[in-house]
């Protein structure tokens, strides 16, 4: 078994493997996220086209042929319509799909059909949600410790302890500085990416519009982590080390009004103490540079961290801390996901 990077771009999906680039697969589609289901070995892509709409493609032959999901609908009678598909997450019993406008779908037939998670569509706080710059996207979905976590920009993070029947806002301690009259609301936070650590029960990380945060109680409370080595609390992706719950990487940007990597470099910052301090990693990364990494632009596994940029380059961080460029001149990169490949 070898490793491949599924690189979603504005102009199709690319597979980077052993120094070779294969693609574009699904030409003409913007791939917001792609993943390989380790259970079925099926590839899934959250694919969008500005003319033809939003869908999910699937391939059972490593991308040689693709099939498209049946129309992905919202509940009957809803005045919402699907604007984009953002994140596909295989789970033990279903394939989950996060989308815009702040919606979640579930497939129990391998991505042929998707049913909306009505409890989130009809969440009682929805009238207080608002779209961020990327739309009102459900971009993060995690399954950990028997719980479900969904994060929506700009609605905040939500947890379900009952398989998706109900959703509890988990935003206590997370700032919404763009609401100066109420900077710590129940919902409305602009979470940019949320991850659950696969090995530490209850530990969540999030990169937010207003800071980097860690929770050790399944999201009931959050601790803000920047101001201790990070040049900025603003950024989009976050990556973890599956073998060490205290390790994380972020890519700070100048700020909401100037969305470019901080300090004129591609600076990846690493913490190994749960966010108490952060250290710049620069070995192998370009400088000076003014770049952008999208919220799905980082991935990780036991072997390393993987980073794709809007400029079309892909970097891999080996365990020794050195970053190496493994692909360049791709279309603007929207997502990177590492996958076993055979």
């Amino acid at each position: 078994m070898s490793r491949a990077l599924l690189v979603g771009t504005r102009k199709g999906l690319f597979v980077v493997r052993d120094g070779e680039v294969d693609g574009p697969l699904l030409p003409g589609w913007s791939i917001y996220h792609a993943v390989r289901d380790p259970g079925s070995d099926t590839l899934y892509a959250a694919s969008n086209n500005f003319v033809y709409g939003a869908t999910v493609h699937r391939s059972s032959d490593l991308g040689r042929t693709w099939e498209r999901a049946e129309e992905i609908r919202l509940p009957e009678g809803s005045d919402l319509k699907l604007n984009a598909t953002w994140h596909v997450e295989p789970g033990p019993d279903a394939l989950w799909l996060g989308g815009d406008p702040g919606v979640l779908h579930r497939s129990t037939d391998g991505g042929v059909t998707f049913e909306p998670v009505v409890s989130l569509v009809e969440h009682p706080t929805r009238d207080r949600w608002q779209p961020g710059a990327g739309g009102m996207c459900c971009h993060s979905f995690q399954i950990a410790d028997g719980r479900l976590y969904a994060a929506i920009s700009a609605a905040g993070a939500f947890r379900s302890d009952d398989g998706g029947e109900t959703w509890t806002p988990i935003n206590q301690g997370v700032a919404a500085d763009f609401f100066p009259d109420n900077p710590f609301p129940e919902v409305g936070q602009c979470v940019h990416k949320l991850l659950a650590h696969p090995a530490r029960d209850g530990r969540l990380w999030q990169q937010n519009h207003c800071g980097v945060y860690r929770s050790d109680d399944h999201g009931d409370t959050w601790e803000r982590l920047e101001g201790n080595g990070l040049p900025s609390g603003f950024g989009f992706p976050i990556a973890l080390d599956p073998t060490d719950p205290d390790v994380a990487w972020v890519v700070p940007e100048e700020g909401a009004e100037n969305r470019v990597t901080a300090d004129g470099r591609l600076g990846v910052y690493r913490t190994d103490d749960g966010g108490a301090s952060w250290t710049l990693e620069e070995d192998g990364l370009p400088a000076p540079a003014w770049l952008a990494v999208m919220r799905e632009g980082m991935s990780f596994d036991d072997d390393g961290v993987y980073l794709g940029m809007q400029s079309g380059s892909v970097f891999v961080r080996s365990r020794d801390g050195r970053w190496t460029e493994v692909a360049e001149n791709l279309p603007p990169i929207l997502s990177v996901e590492v996958a076993d490949w055979q």
Binding site: P27, G28, F50, V51, Y52, G53, E71, K81, L82
Partner: protein, 83 residues
């Protein structure tokens, strides 16, 4: 005859031409394997999808209710948007 652009043809299993004996444009489009890419979930033509019947934009006729006789050339095109 319905003619599809290349991306839609790829989504239709490599077929870019479809015969139809539908009575209306709506009926003709709904029968295509790419119907959900042309029509939104309310059944309306997506804003940037253009459909021409013998060279005339259906939006200048009766839209999806435009009647067909059976011999027309129906051409689906993505609207030119941007540069």
């Amino acid at each position: 005859m319905i003619l599809l652009p290349s991306l839609l043809a790829a989504e239709a299993g490599g077929r870019g031409r479809f015969e139809t004996d539908a009575a209306t444009i709506a009926e003709a489009l709904r029968a295509l394997p790419v119907a959900s890419l042309l029509l939104d979930e309310r059944g309306e033509l997506r804003p940037l999808v253009n459909v021409y019947v013998d060279g005339v934009d259906v939006r200048e006729r009766d839209g999806l209710d435009t009647r067909l006789q059976g011999s027309e050339e129906i051409r689906v095109l993505a609207a030119i948007a941007g540069g």
